[in-house]
């Protein structure tokens, strides 16, 4: 069965329960304690150890009316793409597609090469490199160091780090449980379920919002283009994707490979012929 997330930003109250529930379940440390001044967003981005991230977009009118003032909030997450750049790039096979059709990083296989990091068109996956004694002190509850976890050795791997991102709570799904973020979300802005059902629900939601005069669009319920296909974690937005720090035209990096290999091959052939000629004509 294909499962995924439908994140309806019109229901998001920006409480960040998803961020915390995710960290609690996945036993992830904090990313540091930096005040950004960027609205209420102090975690700033998805990272190797922040697998849900709530974006805050303030759109306040300068003049006195308050009618159209908006404070948009969106809980961002790994998109679990149909064609996933990270998975294609992974040279070890650490990133796999599991039986729930989600893109899963096997921490015991990942060797921390970082190639997935630059291959995600959404800037989601990142290396985790805070799992050492020094860092755990600085960052507080580095629970992967907790003795209760028997596989922490494989999870932490080495000081070089492993890639980290949302697993769509694979380990919870194997128990028939809802992912931690979707379960916690007080207003059910994050909905988890069968993808087909979620997409139907999302389309219906767009229509019902339109009836209320709210213009909304889906991001990733269908093909997002660039060879990526649909997203298993998709969103309902009420502004341009860029407003939420989402790409409007993402591209699957591997689509550039044929051109690259061809150019390289032609150049190499050309130079080889040139060399051959130079050596022979000398």
């Amino acid at each position: 069965m294909s499962t995924g997330f439908f994140t309806d930003t019109t229901l998001c109250i920006g409480c960040k329960a998803c961020e915390v529930a995710c960290k609690q379940w996945n036993e992830l440390p904090s990313d540091g304690y930096e005040f950004t001044g960027n609205s209420y967003d102090n975690t700033s981005q998805l990272s190797g150890t922040t697998w849900r991230h709530v974006a805050f977009v303030e759109q306040m009118h300068v003049e006195e009316t308050t009618i159209d003032d908006r404070w948009l909030m969106m809980s961002d997450v790994c998109k679990h793409c149909t064609h996933a750049g990270c998975m294609e790039a992974c040279p070890t096979g650490a990133i796999i597609r599991n039986e729930f059709d989600s893109v899963f990083v096997q921490p015991d296989i990942c060797n921390g090469c970082g190639y997935c990091v630059v291959s995600c068109p959404f800037g989601v996956i990142d290396l985790v490199n805070v799992f050492n004694a020094e860092a755990s002190g600085a960052y507080g509850l580095a629970t992967l160091n907790d003795q209760r976890l028997d596989d922490k050795q494989t999870a932490v791997q080495a000081t070089g780090g492993v890639a980290g991102k949302c697993t769509l709570c694979y380990d919870r799904q194997t128990l028939g449980m809802t992912p931690a973020c979707a379960k916690a979300c007080p207003t059910e802005s994050i909905q988890f379920g069968n993808l087909e059902e979620l997409r139907e629900r999302a389309n219906a939601r767009v229509e019902s919002l339109a009836k209320r005069g709210i213009e909304a669009s889906l991001y990733g319920a269908g093909d997002v283009g660039g060879g990526i296909g649909a997203l298993n974690a998709f969103f309902l937005l009420t502004d341009r994707p860029e407003a939420y720090n989402l790409p409007v035209e993402p591209v699957l990096p591997s689509t550039r490979q044929p051109a690259g290999y061809t150019a390289a091959a032609l150049t190499a052939a050309g130079l080889a012929i040139a060399g051959w000629m130079i050596f022979r004509n000398a």
């Binding site: 920006g14 409480c15 304690y33 308050t66 003032d69 404070w71 509850l141 007080p186």
Partner: protein, 888 residues
């Protein structure tokens, strides 16, 4: 809670939280619902999805505003004008729910002829005594006939009937006035007024939700009163999707009020005996506290049962059930006056349990320096905090602080069992999951242990003053051998004692109606009677919810009623007001009240039952009087005498305000209480040195010490910050994310600037531009991952006259870019001989974190801080009634 209590009868939220989903309109004001109560807010979102209109009125555009259909800005502290404006609108347009108002409120009562309204006395009510600096409330009463019965005019024509008195009183609260005072654009105000009227009546209901945004003002109780009046006029009390949702701030705030650890209350909202009233004997006390009609006619039963629960067999009819064991009040012993007394050296020992006044109290430096004068401090908590470590705060010199400090490690909620009462008065039991970490113990364990040790220490004493300790029943050993071995008391045993039992048999009492005043029953908290109705049942542990009123999930006091005053959901004849808003109704066949909830009414009292003039208890009420706790069974639009600052709400500016009161000559609440002394300096009203409004609040991600150490939460809001609007930021050269220093007459704090258009400058009367600054009240500067100066350090202590709640929501301040100067606190009282100081202090060098500025070492300024200052407290007059109104 007098705001709700004096209006409806009980000091609790009238609403069952999930019922908010059935509202057609929800007005959220004085509350940042989505941020402070995110999970309950899902019912607001459900209501919205069902088509309800969500309105948010707040000084700041918050995450709640972002979800609301209508947001209106308001100048902090002016809610009486805003709500009063709606009352005026509703009365002027005759859009109130006439049948409801006529039948269920005291609108028809005639007010005494000698009552004079604020209209005619420049903001004061009749009875003001300049010398006494207080009111004689005699005139705030109803006209009575020769038998003492209130005179009514059912036609509502009489100029002195409550409805018409209100018309006159609120006539001044026009939309123009609202715009001039609140800064709320007229269009927004009118839209909201119309939405409320449109969504009230037979077919539709509107709910109100508030929190400490209303309580923490010097007129906070009157804010809530205004809301109560409006909801009565709109006919929304006691009905599904209606009511007033008082959102409590902490897990067991309601329970700590019900089974009170408040100086003026005994469990079950019984008044603490006071030497300021004539309550020396049980008889005198009962005479003073029992009401002739309404439910409080039963007071003696509850008092005697409580004494039996406390003192067991020692309490007999002959010794007034040990009534004299209870201490008597001699003044206001609430937390702020106690802090002042501590500062003045009159408190020697202090227990601080799960509380961090060092960071969360107002006038933080006064609070912390007051603790220097203690002999001992016991703090039970999970983490190091600004209270227990007050002696090493910035600028303090530990070598001069004599206080002996004990930190006892507490058990967290999963490490213990017990009951908490949530915001809808619902008792919920939690099981224990794991043993507490290392030496940690439940608070129950500590209290039980301390009680046992004190009993042992006092054993054999013949001093009568020690009898209460020796006679107090104290047997709570756990049934589970594992727990008993560790000395853990049984919370269930305690809960059973609170529920009550028959003293002869030990059998549990099933309902508070079975309690007696002859010593045959014991009950530690009568309102909870019924939660453990027999040996095997603990309803607080009931765990079968449903989509409706979930009567089998937990247990709500009183008697498991979810929506209070739900008799009012039916018309006077007992029929639902409408099919759509059907909830509790009279079943003519079965001759009883029935419905989706437990009726908040005598089950078999027919709607047509006439009131018996002069009848005792509920006999004085008719079958159509839904507010059974009240003397007359009606909702009180006009409250006679029970509140200290007026029978009707009138707008006063906050004690520290940026404007003159535009409504009356009287600037601020004449009854507010303040301490004019150097260590509690106030900003003067309309002081050019402090031109900005300052308001405080909490954010979703933080509470206090319970969150600041949790990395997952600390990273979400890691530092104290200050929200200001871009216009002011530009004017002051403040950079977003940079440091700012905010100041009041009391001192300075620093924070990071969060420049946001969400804090809209307001335009009030005469085009005056008002900037509001917001600072979250979550931080402390000494410890934890998330930290920063506490805004409490800027707030001088002042109190509401009714419930002694401080004013922290509307203040004034100044602001500048940059960081504050180092603090030179740690002023030591002179009681310690200097020789002792040096000898004791020699070995202990100061840590680097103790002093930011080495110069502070030599700084001994402000010695004897406040010691010689006059006590200076005004309005310390004691209440004549219990005041269970609470904040938080």
């Amino acid at each position: 809670m007098p705001g709700l209590g004096t209006s409806f009868g009980r000091g609790g939220a009238t609403v069952w939280v999930p019922d908010l989903a059935h509202a057609d309109c929800i007005l959220i004001e004085g509350s940042n619902f989505a941020e402070a109560h995110p999970v309950a807010f899902r019912f607001v979102m459900q209501a919205k999805e069902r088509g309800a209109t969500i309105i948010h009125v707040d000084p700041r555009f918050t995450r709640t505003s972002a979800m609301a259909d209508v947001y209106a800005p308001i100048r902090s502290g002016t809610d009486i004008v805003f709500l009063g404006g709606i009352i005026n609108h509703v009365l002027a347009n005759e859009s109130y729910f006439k049948e409801y108002v006529a039948a269920y409120t005291n609108a028809a009562h005639l007010v005494r002829e000698d009552f004079v309204d604020t209209e005619d006395l420049h903001g004061l009510f009749s009875g003001w005594d300049e010398e006494k600096n207080g009111y004689d409330v005699a005139t705030w009463d109803f006209e009575r006939d020769e038998h003492g019965a209130v005179v009514n005019d059912p036609t509502l024509q009489h100029p002195r009937c409550v409805l018409n008195v209100m018309r006159g009183h609120f006539a001044r609260y026009t939309p123009e006035m609202v715009e001039d005072v609140c800064g709320t654009p007229r269009a927004s105000f009118l839209k909201i007024a119309e939405l409320l009227a449109k969504n009230s009546g037979r077919e539709r209901t509107t709910a109100f939700a508030y929190a400490v945004g209303w309580t923490q003002h010097t007129a906070g109780v009157q804010f809530i009163r205004t809301a109560a009046i409006l909801q009565l006029l709109l006919g929304n009390i006691g009905r599904p999707g209606g009511g007033i949702m008082a959102l409590r701030g902490h897990a067991n705030i309601q329970g700590a009020t019900d089974i009170a650890t408040l100086y003026d209350l005994l469990p079950g909202y019984l008044a603490m005996p006071s030497a300021l009233r004539n309550e020396q004997t049980l008889e005198q006390y009962l005479k003073s506290t029992t009401k002739p009609s309404g439910w409080w006619a039963n007071t003696p039963k509850y008092v005697v049962s409580l004494l039996k629960a406390f003192y067991g067999d020692a309490a007999t009819k002959d010794n007034d059930f040990c009534y004299d064991y209870l201490p008597q009040l001699t003044g206001d012993h609430s937390t702020l006056p106690t802090t002042m007394a501590m500062k003045d050296g009159n408190v020697k020992g202090y227990f601080v349990i799960g509380q961090n006044p060092g960071a969360s109290s107002q006038n933080g430096e006064l609070t912390r320096s007051a603790m220097e004068r203690l002999d001992w401090l016991v703090n039970i908590d999970f983490y190091d905090n600004e209270t227990v470590s007050f002696w090493k705060r910035e600028g303090a010199d530990p070598s001069k602080i004599a206080t002996e400090v004990f930190f006892l490690p507490a058990a967290t909620v999963v490490e213990k069992e017990g009951t908490m009462v949530q915001t809808s008065r619902l008792l919920q039991w939690h099981d224990k999951a794991i043993d507490p970490a290392r030496d940690s113990h439940s608070d129950l364990w500590y209290f039980y242990d301390l009680g046992k040790r004190l009993k042992a220490l006092y054993a054999g004493s013949n001093d009568p003053k020690d009898r209460p300790i020796l006679d107090m029943t104290w047997e709570y050993d756990h049934d589970d051998p594992h727990e008993r071995a560790k000395g853990e008391p049984s919370a269930l045993r305690v809960l059973r004692e609170i529920n009550g039992f028959y003293t002869a048999t030990g059998e549990q009492v099933k309902a508070f109606t079975d309690l007696a005043d002859d010593g045959s029953t014991a009950a530690g908290g009568w309102i909870f009677t019924g939660v453990c109705p027999d040996e095997h049942t603990n309803h607080a542990r009931s765990r079968s919810g449903d989509d409706s009123t979930s009567l089998n999930w937990g247990w709500a006091w009183p008697a498991n009623r979810r929506t209070l005053y739900n008799r009012a959901s039916a018309d006077p004849d007992g029929k639902p007001w409408s099919e759509r808003k059907k909830y509790v109704w009279w079943d003519e066949e079965k001759r009883e009240w029935t419905g989706y909830d437990v009726p908040d009414f005598p089950k078999t009292k027919a709607p047509a039952t006439p009131a018996i003039p002069g009848g005792k208890g509920l006999d004085a009420h008719s079958g159509a009087d839904p507010f059974i706790m009240n003397v007359d069974g009606k909702g009180q639009l006009f409250v006679s005498g029970a509140l200290k600052d007026g029978p009707l709400p009138a707008h006063y500016e906050p004690l520290q305000s940026v404007v003159r009161n535009p409504l009356y000559e009287q600037q601020s609440n004449p009854m507010l209480r303040q301490w004019d002394r150097p260590d509690n300096a106030y900003n003067k009203a309309v002081d050019a040195a402090y031109p900005y409004v300052l308001t405080t609040y909490r954010v979703t991600e933080m509470s206090g010490i319970m969150t600041r150490y949790v990395p997952w939460l600390a990273e979400l809001q890691p530092a104290a910050f200050c929200e200001i609007n871009p216009e002011l930021a530009v004017e002051k050269g403040i950079k977003n994310g940079g440091w700012v220093t905010i100041s009041t007459a009391l001192g300075e704090m620093e924070a990071r600037a969060l420049v946001s258009g969400r804090l809209r400058p307001l335009r009030i009367a005469k085009g005056q531009r008002v900037h509001q600054i917001g600072i979250p009240y979550n931080y402390g500067s000494q410890v934890a991952f998330a930290r920063g100066d506490s805004v409490g350090d800027l707030i001088a202590l002042s109190m509401d006259p009714n419930v002694s709640i401080h004013e922290s929501k509307s203040l004034t301040c100044n602001i500048r870019a940059g960081r504050r100067a180092p603090r030179h606190s740690g002023v030591v009282d002179a009681d310690v001989p200097s020789s002792e100081r040096t000898t004791m202090g020699q070995s202990s060098a100061l840590g680097p974190e103790d002093l930011r500025d080495p110069a502070a070492l030599t700084h001994h300024a402000r010695a004897n801080d406040g010691k010689d200052a006059s006590h200076g407290m005004r309005q310390m007059g004691q209440g004549d009634r219990p005041s269970p109104e609470k904040g938080a």
